[in-house]
């Protein structure tokens, strides 16, 4: 009996071992594409080891393309133009690219494998994206499910960004989660405070990164962020500014408002903030302060389901209701819309804005999934 068991164990191990060795050798042999050169914008040239995705090849050389899904080909943030050497379009990329993008040879950097010399084009601003080593200076609860995280930048120790942009937070493995992921969060701190970055992070049920922030991350911990990224920012204009946000969509708005405080705009600005009950609402004192110090700025919070003990005397209903009511009373011809929140909320509010005469090109938004 013992002999039989030993023989079995030995044979299984031998076969598995032999096949594993075979696969490792095969991988060396087949999947080794040697050194490949990547030409960027016909200026820079990088040399990387082939066989990995373009996204990781670039980040290994400190060029960070935005990526919110961590290279799984779902967020489509890592789009870049690949002029030579990418091979045919993959079935995983096709659904995420528009016909014009396909014509322009736009590809998803996380899906394109570096197998030969490549020639790519990326926007110049991306060169400004850096990885920052930071330490958590302060953590505070804004509501029962939104935390405010203040990061002090260590290396590099200052960040240049435009109000409305976001950074990617790199989570560390914890508990049963063995992987490190990157998720995008808007910067809530003012642009002139360039030594710190403040984020507002809402706990997403089952969310890998948000659970890590809410349950594992402590003051004094070291974390990495990559940024700044994104093109959500204040645009020049004559008409009224209409801001709409919900939940942690507050973050970029606070940054935009801090900029307005330094350099008050001549036009009127109104900020609609949607929440369900009073326990979802926060920053009321800060908003009152902004209202006092920015001329022509109004803050309009609305609760969609105020509880009896909330003692709420403000607007009620979905945020689209006060927004629609307000827009119907003003001149919307040159007005600009700035939105940040869930895709559903943004979609509904963009429709209300368009119905009230704000043109699509004057509506700017930053959705998060």
């Amino acid at each position: 009996m013992t002999v039989l068991i030993l023989k079995t164990v030995f044979l299984i191990t031998a076969i598995n071992g032999a096949l594993a060795v075979l696969l490792v050798i095969a991988e060396r042999f087949f999947a080794n594409y040697g050194e490949c050169r990547i030409r960027i914008n016909d200026q820079k040239e990088l040399t990387v080891n082939g066989g990995i995705s373009l996204l990781s090849a670039l980040s290994s050389q400190k060029i960070f393309l935005p990526s919110a899904c961590g290279g799984r080909g779902t967020c489509a943030y890592c789009k870049c133009q690949v002029q030579e050497g990418a091979g045919p379009l993959l079935p995983t990329e096709e659904p995420l690219l528009s016909p014009e993008e396909i014509n322009k040879q736009v590809r998803l950097a996380c899906q394109v494998k570096v197998k030969q010399d490549l020639s790519i084009r990326i926007p110049e601003e991306l060169f400004a994206i850096q990885q920052f080593e930071t330490v958590v200076e302060q953590m505070a609860d804004l509501t029962y499910d939104i935390k405010r995280v203040r990061l002090k930048l260590i290396d590099p120790n200052a960040i240049q960004f435009k109000a409305g942009q976001y950074v990617q937070l790199v989570s560390q493995p914890y508990g049963k989660v063995r992987e490190s992921v990157q998720r995008a969060y808007s910067i809530a701190s003012p642009t002139y405070e360039n030594g710190i970055v403040e984020l507002m992070i809402r706990l997403v049920p089952e969310g890998i990164c948000t659970t890590w922030v809410h349950e594992v991350l402590q003051e004094g911990d070291h974390v990495q962020i990559i940024g700044p990224m994104g093109d959500f920012e204040m645009h020049e204009g004559e008409g009224e500014i209409i801001m709409v946000a919900g939940g942690s969509g507050m973050a970029p708005m606070v940054s935009l408002l801090s900029d307005m405080l330094k350099d008050p705009p001549k036009r009127k600005a109104t900020y609609f903030f949607g929440a369900v009950t009073k326990r979802d609402i926060f920053f009321l004192d800060e908003m009152a302060e902004f209202e006092k110090r920015i001329p022509n700025f109004n803050f309009v919070p609305a609760l969609s389901d105020p509880q009896p003990d909330d003692d709420w005397d403000g607007e009620t209903g979905l945020i689209t209701v006060p927004l629609g009511n307000y827009l119907s009373t003003i001149k919307t011809e040159n007005a600009q819309g700035y939105l940040c929140g869930s895709p559903g909320m943004i979609h509904a509010c963009v429709n209300v804005m368009k119905e009230n005469g704000i043109s699509g090109e004057n509506i700017f938004f930053d959705p998060f999934g």
Binding site: L11, I15, N16, L22, A26, L90, P91
Partner: protein
């Protein structure tokens, strides 16, 4: 089974003893990937490919390794491991040398590791004591039979998209009924050659 011509085995595996419609092996990918002709033929091609190669490899492993050692009872584990390794190897090989084939088969190859038709063919050829040539013919024939069945199914389902089907039968419901009817139709071939 010494006397049986490999050609007879080959055609018998396609028609009379179709691995899918007679033995009902490989049903789950058959039902889930048969919505479009394009993807169905991709998966079908990958199955032909892997079935032929693993039939040959598993034949060698069984008759020249497991049997001489008297450890035939390990065949289930060993066959699965060989199939998984073959699929991995093939994926690497195809990715390197044939971009277009990789694009067509690429996403289906890993799926095939768990397709029970592959393991089924390896086990049948052992039970029926086929020779090496017979086994390869049987593997290739079974693969082509599976390919034909999923292709026919995908064609029918694409046509059904335009037709009105009772709500309760949408998806797997109607697919199971169709495969039943297809299996009955294939009984019509059974007069030709009978292999057991």
């Amino acid at each position: 089974m010494e006397g049986l011509s490999p050609w007879i085995l080959f055609f018998a595996a396609i028609f009379t003893g179709n691995i899918l419609l007679t033995y009902f092996l490989g049903m789950c990918s058959f039902l889930s990937v048969s919505k479009q002709i394009k993807t169905a033929s991709g998966l079908g091609l990958a199955v032909i490919f892997v079935l032929t190669i693993t039939a040959a490899l598993n034949w060698i492993v069984y008759w020249h390794l497991l049997q001489p050692l008297g450890m035939e009872y390990l065949r289930y584990i060993v066959f699965i491991v060989v199939i998984a390794a073959t699929v991995q190897l093939l994926e690497m090989f195809i990715e390197r040398y044939s971009e277009s084939l990789y694009l067509n088969l690429g996403i289906f190859l890993p799926l095939i590791t768990v397709n029970c038709a592959i393991l089924g063919v390896s086990l049948f050829m052992i039970i029926r004591k086929y020779t090496f040539i017979q086994s390869v013919a049987f593997g290739a024939g079974s693969g082509i039979g599976w390919f034909l069945a999923i292709l026919a199914m995908a064609g029918i389902r694409e046509r059904l998209n335009e037709k009105k089907i009772p709500a309760a039968l949408h998806g797997p419901g109607i697919a199971l009924i169709i495969s039943g009817i297809m299996a009955m139709a294939f009984i019509g071939f059974s007069g030709m050659v009978q292999i057991q």
